[in-house]
């Protein structure tokens, strides 16, 4: 068993805490904050994959897109939704090339 000190530093645990507390937040927050938390979680997951050497350039690109554009939710809803579309399209491009 790991001790708490180690667990608190574990990136998987950090993502777990983020997911649990986001779930509660989604009950009361603006509807678009659900998608925001999901892409934020995706970016955090990519970070873990990156540290473990399990990414390629396309995955890094997805993370870059998320980091640069997730804030749009606070400023421009339409552009945020457009960004979500582009993110899925980028993912599809990656699937196609495999």
């Amino acid at each position: 068993m790991k001790d708490t000190e180690d667990i608190l530093k574990d990136d998987h645990f950090k993502l777990l805490a983020f997911l649990i507390t986001s779930a509660r937040g989604c009950v009361v927050e603006p509807p678009l904050y659900g998608p925001l938390r999901l892409v934020d979680a995706a970016s955090r997951l990519i970070e873990i994959m990156r540290k473990e050497g399990r990414v390629n350039e396309q995955i890094i690109k997805l993370q870059k897109m998320i980091k640069e554009r997730m804030d749009l939710v606070m400023y421009d809803e339409e552009m945020f939704i457009e960004f979500l579309d582009e993110l899925s399209k980028e993912l599809a491009k990656m699937l196609k090339s495999e």
Partner: protein
């Protein structure tokens, strides 16, 4: 900076430098909080100052809306026992009071070059457990504070012409 520049220049900061905030500045920020107006001067607030890195990290874990690595966190809480003195409206006024205290803190912080972000996206139940907040005290807002890596661009504001009504609702301000 004059007050108008401070009001217009303050931004929600979500990316902080790894630099501590001197104690006198923190005291000035907290003091600005208690000098906010409050309904019937009830002062229903309790402020929890968090400077320990380990605790800040834990609060980050339970706060999906907290971005960056702030040097300091202030948790603004409503003391429900005090707020009761405001009658049926006590709960709502307490929230207004807290908001005014928070704005005072953010403005004075900005005037000293310190960035801040008000945050409601955190887990209340988890935060209460983490920092031992008693039952009758409710954390309602977190302020993250630190020296910004950069000052974000100002997000758009609805224009005065749209927001202001002159003498009667619907008679829009023409500038």
């Amino acid at each position: 900076m004059n007050l108008r520049e401070i009001i217009k220049g303050r931004r929600a900061v979500r990316d902080f430098k790894d630099k501590e905030i001197p104690k006198e500045k923190l005291m000035a920020i907290l003091e600005a909080g208690i000098w906010a107006p409050s309904g019937s001067n009830i002062q229903p607030w309790e402020f929890i100052l968090v400077t320990e890195k380990a605790m800040i990290e834990k609060i980050k874990l339970i706060s999906p809306g907290l971005f960056g690595n702030p040097a300091v966190i202030i948790v603004l809480c409503i003391n429900r026992e005090r707020a009761k003195r405001g009658g049926k409206l006590g709960g709502i006024t307490a929230l207004m009071d807290i908001s005014m205290a928070a704005q005072n803190m953010m403005l004075i912080a900005y005037s000293m070059g310190i960035g801040s972000c008000p945050i409601v996206s955190f887990s209340k139940s988890a935060l209460k457990e983490l920092v031992d907040i008693p039952e009758h005290v409710e954390p309602v807002l977190i302020l993250s504070l630190g020296y910004p890596k950069f000052w974000p661009k100002p997000p758009k504001r609805r224009p005065l012409e749209e927001v202001v009504h002159v003498e009667r609702y619907g008679r829009h301000f023409k500038g």
